[in-house]
Symmetry: C2
Subunit: 223 residues, 2 copies
C-alpha cells in the first residue's frame, strides 16, 4: 500500500508546516496575543484546517515548544559527548543552558506557560504526555551524570542525584527568568547582576555537593 504511506508522509509534512507557521507567529506575539487566524494565514491554510491537525491553540503552542525541548536536549547531548571530567561537565551543562537561554530565547519563553497549572488544564492529555516524555530525556541526562560523579567519588555519597538535579535546575531556571524581564528592573532598580548571580549560585551548589577531595582538584582545574 504505497498510497497510504505517501499520504501519511504528506500529513506529517503538513503538520510540520503548521508548526512552522505557528512558531513564526508565537515567536512574534506570544501565546496570548497571537491568533489562530494569523497562524492560518501564515500557513496558507484555513483556520478550520488547523483544528484538523491540532485540538486547540494551546496544543499547537506545545507542539512548537516541543521543538525547543529537542534543541535543548541536543545541546546537552553535545556537552555530554565531550570527554571532560564529571564535575567540569556538570558546570558545562549550566553554561550550556545559559547559552540556550541567550541563543534560543523564544523557545525559552515558551517554557513559562508549561509550568503554570492553569495552562495545564487547557491542554490535551496526549500533548502533555509528549512534552513530559521529551522533558524526562533531558532530566535523565543530568541525573545520570550526577550519579556518575558519586560513583567516581567526586560527589558526596549522601547526595540524592535527582534532588541535586532539581536544585541546580530550579536555581538556574528562575534566575534566567528574571534576566528575561525586558525592563532593566533588576540591574537598574535593585543593582543586581543576574548573570553573576547565576554563576555564583551554580558554583555554590556544586561546591556543596563535592567531596572534600574533589574540591582541591576542581579548584586547580577551574580557579
Amino acid at each position: 500500500m504505497g498510497i497510504t504511506e505517501r499520504k501519511e508522509r504528506e500529513k506529517e509534512h503538513r503538520r510540520e508546516e503548521i508548526i512552522d507557521a505557528a512558531q513564526k507567529i508565537f515567536f512574534q506575539k506570544g501565546l496570548l496575543v497571537a491568533t489562530m487566524d494569523e497562524i492560518a494565514e501564515a500557513a496558507e491554510l484555513s483556520k478550520g484546517t488547523l483544528y484538523l491537525y491540532y485540538k486547540s491553540k494551546e496544543d499547537l503552542y506545545l507542539a512548537v515548544m516541543l521543538r525547543g525541548t529537542e534543541v535543548l536536549a541536543d545541546i546537552f547531548g553535545k556537552v555530554l559527548s565531550k570527554d571532560h571530567p564529571t564535575l567540569k561537565t556538570i558546570a558545562n551543562l549550566g553554561e550550556a543552558y545559559y547559552e540556550f537561554f541567550k541563543e534560543h530565547r523564544n523557545y525559552f519563553r515558551m517554557f513559562y506557560f508549561f509550568e503554570n497549572p492553569q495552562f495545564h488544564k487547557q491542554v490535551s492529555p496526549e500533548m502533555l504526555q509528549s512534552c513530559s516524555g521529551e522533558n524526562q530525556k533531558v532530566w535523565k541526562l543530568v541525573i545520570d551524570l550526577i550519579q556518575r560523579g558519586i560513583d567516581e567519588g567526586v560527589i558526596q555519597r549522601d547526595i540524592d542525584p535527582k534532588q541535586a538535579a532539581v536544585i541546580l535546575w530550579a536555581s538556574s531556571n528562575h534566575l534566567m527568568r528574571q534576566m528575561d524581564r525586558e525592563d532593566t528592573y533588576w540591574h537598574d532598580v535593585m543593582g543586581i547582576d543576574l548573570e553573576a548571580a547565576f554563576r555564583k549560585a551554580n558554583a555554590m551548589i556544586l561546591e556543596s555537593m563535592m567531596t572534600e577531595d574533589a574540591k582541591v582538584r576542581f579548584h586547580e582545574l577551574v580557579p
Copy 2:
C-alpha cells in the same frame, strides 16, 4: 470639605469591594478562565463600573496580587521581629516563605503571571509601579538581614547581599512552583521529594555563605 472626603472614602471602599469580588473569582478560576462579567456579578455591579475603577482585567488581577504581596511582607516582618541569631532568622525566612506557599496558595499562584514578560505588556505602568514598590519592601528586609550577617561576621565578607538574596529566593521560588503542579509528576514519575529538595537547597546555599567560624556554631544550634 467633608463631602469630598466622604466621597473619597466611599470610592476607596468600592475599590476594595471590587477587589474582594475579583479575588473570589480569580481564586476559583485563575486569570485566563475568570471573566469580567463574573466578577461584576460577584461585586453586584455592572461590568462597565469595573472599568471606572480598573483599566483592564490584568490591572484588576494585579490589584488582588498586591494583597498577596502585603500578606507575605507581614509574615516576613513577624519573623524578623523575633530576636533570633541572624543565620537562624535567614533559615526561618525560608520556612516562612514555605508557610506562605502552603497557607496562601492562591496568592502564590498569582505571582506566576507577574514574571511573564508577555503579561507585563498588558498592564498599566502605574499598577506595575505599585507592585514593584511593594515587592522592593520585601527584598529590602532580606537584603538588610544578610548585610547584618556580614557585619556580625557570620556571613563571608565577599558575599554580595543582593546577590545572595536573589539566589535564595530563585531557588526557593522555583522549587515551590514545581510543588504547585497539581499532578503528582515529580513524586510519582520522577521520584523526587520536592519539600526535601527545598530544605536541602536552602541549607546548601546558606552553608556556602557562612564563615567557617559560624558553621561550627550554627550546627550546634541547628543539627
